[in-house]
């Protein structure tokens, strides 16, 4: 079998992706930031930085601290707002031949709906990812994502206001992530993506102050991968809609773990900071794995976990 024979196409509900590797929201900007190093057209897709109805200034610094094999961030969803996104970012994004998924965020259910409505019909937007899992904002975000009923209502509201497929990004900061996954599935979500960051903190022992301006932040990176993988494993068994795996994926082997566990696609996040070409390396690695293991379609690999 030659190189061209490995078919990396995957379907995430109504969404057709040329390969199962996307860049995660908040870690790849709007794609242009990395364009010198990464051709976005080679990616399965790109989930762009979360946008809200109005611009948000974000949290007070420091916003980032490195932790063992990971990092805490408390950016606070700094973003330019949906209007500026449409005017300044989308014109370039829609020239790309890749699935651009817009991560959306609101302070209230109505705001989630309003952001979705503004993106309705927007050419170049392949899908929406609802962020009900940001740990770094006081209102909205995780407040919704930790409550199955509230998660479902936000999902319904967004679905009412959009013509795009809807992915719901779930928080791991819950007792039972499957309950939230099932609730948003019932509400009509086309897919779920998980996990967002795990809430954490770090303290400077000299100043006795928190090392983040926001006190707490979201932990990401390889440190969280086993937690993420197990949650994906569980959610895959709890819902019928596709699951997108996220959490500390650095290389091909990491991505394969999630696919074997049943994720229909993966998002690469923190790894972009370390190796901007991580996603491209993973795509090449998946192709090689398929060739080496005589797998003609990568979809045949998904969910092949033996237990």
């Amino acid at each position: 079998m030659n190189q061209q024979d490995a078919d990396l196409n995957v379907r995430i509900g109504p969404l057709q992706l040329r390969n199962p590797v996307l860049t995660a929201s908040g870690t790849f900007g709007y794609g242009k930031e990395y364009a010198d190093l990464v051709d976005p057209n080679l990616l399965g897709g790109m989930v762009v930085k979360g946008v809200s109805l109005k611009p948000r200034p974000g949290n007070s610094p420091p916003r980032i601290v490195e932790t063992p094999a990971g990092m805490l961030n408390a950016i606070g969803l700094e973003n330019i707002g949906v209007e500026a996104f449409l005017q300044e970012k989308l014109p370039w994004l829609k020239t790309l031949d890749t699935a651009v998924i817009v991560n959306i965020y609101g302070h209230s259910r109505a705001e989630y709906g309003a952001v979705a409505a503004q993106l309705k019909g927007a050419e170049g937007v392949a899908a929406l990812e609802i962020n009900i899992s940001c740990p770094n904002v006081k209102m909205g975000g995780m407040v919704f994502g930790t409550d199955p009923a509230a998660s479902a209502r936000v999902t319904e509201t967004v679905l009412k206001n959009t013509d795009k497929p809807v992915v719901v990004k779930l928080t791991p900061n819950v007792t039972d992530i499957c309950a939230v996954a099932r609730a948003v599935e019932q509400a009509g979500a086309h897919a779920v993506s998980l996990i967002n960051t795990l809430t954490g903190m770090a303290i400077d022992t000299e100043t006795k102050r928190p090392r983040l301006g926001n006190i707490s932040g979201g932990l990401s990176g390889p440190a969280i991968r086993p937690v993420a993988l197990y949650m994906v494993h569980r959610v895959v068994r709890a819902v019928r809609i596709p699951v997108i795996g996220i959490g500390g994926i650095m290389d091909t082997k990491d991505a394969l773990e999630f696919l074997i566990a049943g994720a229909g696609a993966v998002q690469v996040g923190t790894a972009n900071f370390v190796n901007p070409r991580a996603s491209l390396d993973i795509i090449a690695g998946l192709r090689q794995y398929c060739i080496d293991h005589d797998i003609q379609r990568i979809e045949d690999l998904i969910g092949t976990l033996k237990t």
Binding site: K49, P57, G58, E66, A69, E78, P222, N272, F273
Partner: protein, 262 residues
């Protein structure tokens, strides 16, 4: 501006003062594109721990191909760097950020450095005519001093201040700057160092109506404007709530920063 990322060979990595090193990487694409004040993101080891790249201002360019960085061992990442041997390879990404803006014709350039803040100022000084430049360097104590010759600055006017008085002027580098600002003639100040020092430099310049450009240092994850982790508070008149050091800086006009909240 094009950004490159590749593995670069370590040409030398030498201790120039206790716990202070100059590392040179063979990175011709980055070196030839770099402007004074720009920085690179260095991966100190091909490992997941420590995870993130570290930002370093470019200290100088050697023969158009060698990227020279100055660092002090302050944590795990720089400790690993210090143990790196010539001949090994490190991933480097750059050149990144906005550098210094050139002085206007006839302006006398006063460069004020605190500690490792000397790095970008060396690159700047060496891009200017040496007769126009006065470099003032501040250190805690004499042992920390990196000699001007080791930085390729032997032909420049370099003044030293130490906080404990063990070498040069006894006091802060900002006192040297204050003296130099007193003279006549059009001046421009370029500065890099700890935040408190830069705040003082900024206020000295603002009081005298002297243009001042500062290079800021923050923690950073991406270096290219993707993560928004390197925010610093912007002055009210800038029309922004914050700047991102990696993209809007690291060099800023002193008037655009909210020094009180930095």
């Amino acid at each position: 501006m094009v950004v490159f990322e590749h593995k670069a060979e370590v040409v030398r990595n030498e201790e120039v003062a206790p716990n202070t090193f100059l590392i040179e990487l063979e990175a011709p694409s980055i070196a030839s594109a770099a402007k004074p004040g720009q920085f690179v993101m260095l991966r100190v080891a091909d490992k997941i721990d420590p995870l993130l790249r570290r930002p370093f201002s470019i200290c100088s360019i050697n023969d158009g191909a060698g990227l020279v960085l100055l660092y002090r061992v302050v944590g795990r990442g720089t400790r690993i760097m210090a143990d790196t041997r010539a001949g090994s390879y490190l991933s480097v990404m750059g050149p990144l950020g906005r550098g210094f803006e050139a002085p206007a014709a006839g302006e006398e350039c006063l460069l004020a450095a605190g500690g490792m803040g000397i790095a970008p100022l060396v690159f700047l000084a060496r891009s200017l005519k040496k007769t126009r430049v006065t470099l003032m360097t501040g250190y805690g104590t004499a042992a920390e001093i990196v000699s001007p010759a080791q930085l390729g600055m032997q032909d420049f006017a370099v003044a030293v201040a130490t906080e404990d008085g063990s070498a040069g002027y006894h006091g802060l580098v900002t006192a040297l700057l204050e003296d130099d600002l007193a003279g006549t003639g059009r001046k421009i100040v370029y500065s890099c160092g700890p935040a408190a020092m830069l705040g003082k430099v900024a206020s000295l310049c603002l009081e005298r109506g002297v243009e001042c450009q500062v290079s800021l240092e923050t923690v950073m994850a991406c270096g290219v404007g993707a993560c928004q982790g390197c925010a610093v508070p912007a002055a009210a008149e800038s029309g922004r709530s914050s700047f991102h050091v990696c993209q809007d800086g690291p060099v800023f006009s002193a008037v655009s920063i909210d020094w009180e909240h930095l």
